[in-house]
Amino acid sequence: MIAIDVENVTRIYQKYSARHRFKTFKSALVKGDLFKALRPDELVTALNGISFKVEKGTTFGVIGENGSGKSTLLKIIAGIAKPTSGKVSVQGKVSALIELGAGFHPEISGRENVFINGIMLGLSKREINEKFNEIVKFAELEEFIDAPVKTYSSGMYMRLGFSIAINVNPEILLIDEVLAVGDASFVPKCLDRIDNFRRRKKTILFVSHDLTTVEKICDQVIWLKDGKIQIIGEPKRVIDTYLQDIAHKQEDDFEVRHKEIDLEQKWEEEEREKRWGGREIEIRKVTLKSLDGQEKHVFAPKDGMIIEMDVKASSQIKDFVFGIGIFNSKGVSCYGTNTHLEDFEPVSIRGEGKVVCKISQLNLVNGTYYLDVAVHKRDGYPYDYHRNLYSFLVSSRYRDEGVSRLSHSWSFSPQIKIKPPK
C-alpha cells in the first residue's frame, strides 16, 4: 500500500520583489493564480517535476544540500504549502515535525500550550488528557509545566514541541532536521521513539543532513539536487553517490583556490609571510596529484598524494634542500620532512627541473590541510619558501579524531557480542 504518492510535483516561488506585487495580486484575484503575471527571471523553481511513492511502513530519507528543496517537499506533503503543479496524495493522519513548538504562546503555561498545540496538531481534548502525563514525562518538564513558556530554555521548548508532535500518534511522520537542536541525552531518546514508530510499521519521511542516521534508519533514500531527484534507492548507494558529488564540488572549490595562486605576481611586502626567500632557486609551480597522475585536491585517507614542484635555478647552485610540510587547520604540523633530513646530498642544480615527492598513503583524518613547500640552503637560508599557500581536503565517512589515521583493525573474543559496521 502506498502511503505517500507524489506525482510530478513542481513548486515555483516568486523572488521577492515589491514592484511586481500589485500585478501579482490582481492576477491572484482574477485568475486565482499567483504566478502567471510574472516573468521567468522573477521565479525560483524549488521543486521541479518530483515523483516518487513511499510504501506504507517504510522509512524514507531525503538528503541534499541546503536549498535543494527538501523542506519545500516536506511542507507540500504536510499540506502546508501547495504545489504549483502536480499532485500529492497522502493516506493517513500526518504529523509534521517541521518546527517544534511553532504554535507556542510565550505568555501562557506549558500545560495550556500542550493543549492548544495538541489541538492544532489534530488531537481532541480527551486524547490530550489521556496523553498529557506521557507528553510531560517524555519532555522531562514535570517541574516546569505550569511555568509560562517564555521562561523555558530553547532545549526545553524543543523537547516539549517534539513530545507533543510525536504523541499525536500519526500514521505518517514527517521529520525535518529537528533533531539537530537536541542535547546529547535527548536525541537518542527521540531516535528511540522514531525506531519505535518504525517497528509499529508507520511511515516516516526523514529529512536530515546527518547521513549516518539516515543510512541507519532509512529503507530508501532520495537525493534532491536543485529541486530535482538525482537518485532514489537503497541508502548506501544514494549516500555514496551524494558524497561523491560533494567531493566533486569540493574538488572544484580547491582547484579554483589553487589556480588563484599566482606565483608570477610581485610579492608585496605584506605578503612576505606567505612567500619569502632570495629566489636564487625559484619554485614556479606546485601541483597536487593523485597517484595516477590526475591533478586533485580532495583525498581519502587511504589515498596517496604526489606533490610536484617546478623549480628553476638562475645560476649553478651547489647547496640546496627541498622540503615539504603539512599542517592541519589548527596549525598543527602533521608531517614535515626535507631532503637534508633524509640525507640526500645536493650536488648541483641549474635551469629548470621538477621535484616530485610521492606520499604513498596520506593516513590523515578528515579536514582541510595546508601545505608548505620550500627550497633553502642547508644552513636555513631561504631561496624560496611558500608558507601554507596550497591546501587540500581529506574527506571520508570515518569519524575518527586526532591528527593521523593510524592503520589499525579490531578483533574481539567470542564472548563479546558486537556487530561489525555494515
Binding site: 516561488y13 516568486q14 506585487r21 501579482t24 495580486f25 491572484a28 484575484l29 486565482g32 499567483l34 511542507k75 504536510a78 499540506g79 502546508i80 504549502a81 501547495k82 500526518v94 509534521a96 517541521i98 518546527e99 511553532a102 504554535g103 504562546h105 505568555e107 501562557i108 495550556e112 493543549f115 492548544i116 489541538i119 492544532m120 496538531l121 481532541s124 481534548k125 509560562p148
Partner: protein, 272 residues
C-alpha cells in the same frame, strides 16, 4: 460559492481550536497585570470618563435629545464607544494577525482564517465584559429599560457579521499591502467621527445638511450604532429596514471578505 461554503463547514470542525485560542488570547492578554481581567471593564470605563470630561463638561452636550446633562451624555457615548471599540480593535489586530502569527501558517497545517476569527471573537468577549457595566449605568443615570432592549442581540449579530467580513478583508490584504495597517489606523479615526457615536443622528447640523445625512446613512456603522442607542439609550424600536439593509451589506462584506481571503490563502505562507 460552493467552495466557500465547504470551507466554512470545514471551519466548524475547528471550533474547539477557536475556543481554545480565544481563551488563550484572553489569558495571555492580561498575564502579568495586577488587575487582570478587570481591565476588560476598566478600559471602556476610563475611555468613557475621558469622553465625558471632554465632551460632557468642557464642550458640553449640544443636542436637546440628550437633555443637556453631561451624565446622560456620558451614557449615550458609552452606548456607541463600547461596540465601536470592539470593531476598531478587531480591525486593527486583524491587520497584523497573519504576520504576527505567521509561524502557525508557515509551520503547521492550520486554516489561516482561524486567526482573524479568533481576533474578532476575543474582542467580542471584551465587549461582552463591558456590556454589564453599560447596562448597570442605565438605571444609575436615570434611564429606564424598555422591552426593546431584547433586540440588542440582533444588533450585536449584525455587527459581528460586519466585523468578521471586514477582518477577513483587512487581514488578507495587509499581507500583500502592508500600507493598509497605517491607512487603517487613520481610516478608523475618521470612521469613528463619521458615525453617530459622539453625536446623535438628530444633531441639528446633520439634519440641516442633505449631504451629511446621505453620507452618514451610507455608512453601515451608522445604523449599527443607532441600533445600540435605540435599544439601550432611547429605549425605542430599532429601525428595522435600515438595520436589515445593513445586515445585507454585512453579509455581502462577509462573503466578499472571505472570498478574497480564500483566494489569497495560498500566498500567505510565503508572504507573511
Amino acid at each position: 460559492m460552493l467552495r466557500l461554503i465547504r470551507s466554512l463547514k470545514e471551519l466548524y470542525k475547528y471550533r474547539m481550536l477557536i475556543r481554545n485560542l480565544v481563551s488563550r488570547e484572553l489569558k495571555a492578554r492580561y498575564r502579568g497585570t495586577i488587575l487582570g481581567f478587570l481591565w476588560s471593564f476598566f478600559n471602556p470605563l476610563l475611555l468613557m470618563v475621558i469622553y465625558t470630561i471632554v465632551f460632557g463638561f468642557i464642550i458640553g452636550p449640544r443636542d436637546p435629545s440628550l437633555g443637556g446633562s453631561p451624565w446622560l451624555y456620558a451614557l449615550f457615548l458609552f452606548c456607541g464607544v463600547l461596540p465601536w471599540t470592539w470593531f476598531s480593535s478587531s480591525s486593527l489586530e486583524s491587520a497584523n494577525v497573519l504576520m504576527v502569527q505567521g509561524n502557525l501558517i508557515k509551520k503547521i497545517l492550520f486554516p489561516s482564517e482561524i486567526l482573524p476569527i479568533v481576533v474578532v471573537f476575543s474582542n467580542f468577549i471584551h465587549f461582552l465584559f463591558g456590556l454589564p457595566i453599560l447596562l448597570l449605568f442605565v438605571p444609575i443615570m436615570g434611564k429606564t429599560f424598555t422591552p426593546f432592549i431584547l433586540f440588542l442581540p440582533v444588533v450585536v449579530f449584525v455587527q459581528f457579521v460586519f466585523s468578521m467580513g471586514f477582518s477577513f478583508l483587512i487581514s488578507s490584504l495587509t499581507v500583500h499591502f502592508r500600507d493598509i495597517k497605517d491607512i487603517l489606523a487613520n481610516l478608523l479615526t475618521f470612521w469613528f467621527f463619521a458615525s453617530p457615536i459622539i453625536y446623535p443622528m438628530t444633531f441639528a447640523p446633520i439634519q440641516k445638511s442633505a449631504f451629511l445625512k446621505v453620507f452618514l446613512n451610507l455608512n453601515p456603522m451608522t445604523h449599527i450604532m443607532q441600533g445600540y442607542q435605540n435599544c439601550i439609550f432611547f429605549g425605542s424600536l430599532v429601525r428595522w429596514k435600515r438595520l436589515g439593509v445593513t445586515f445585507l451589506v454585512a453579509l455581502i462584506l462577509f462573503f466578499v471578505g472571505y472570498y478574497i481571503f480564500d483566494r489569497l490563502r495560498e500566498s500567505f505562507p510565503e508572504e507573511v
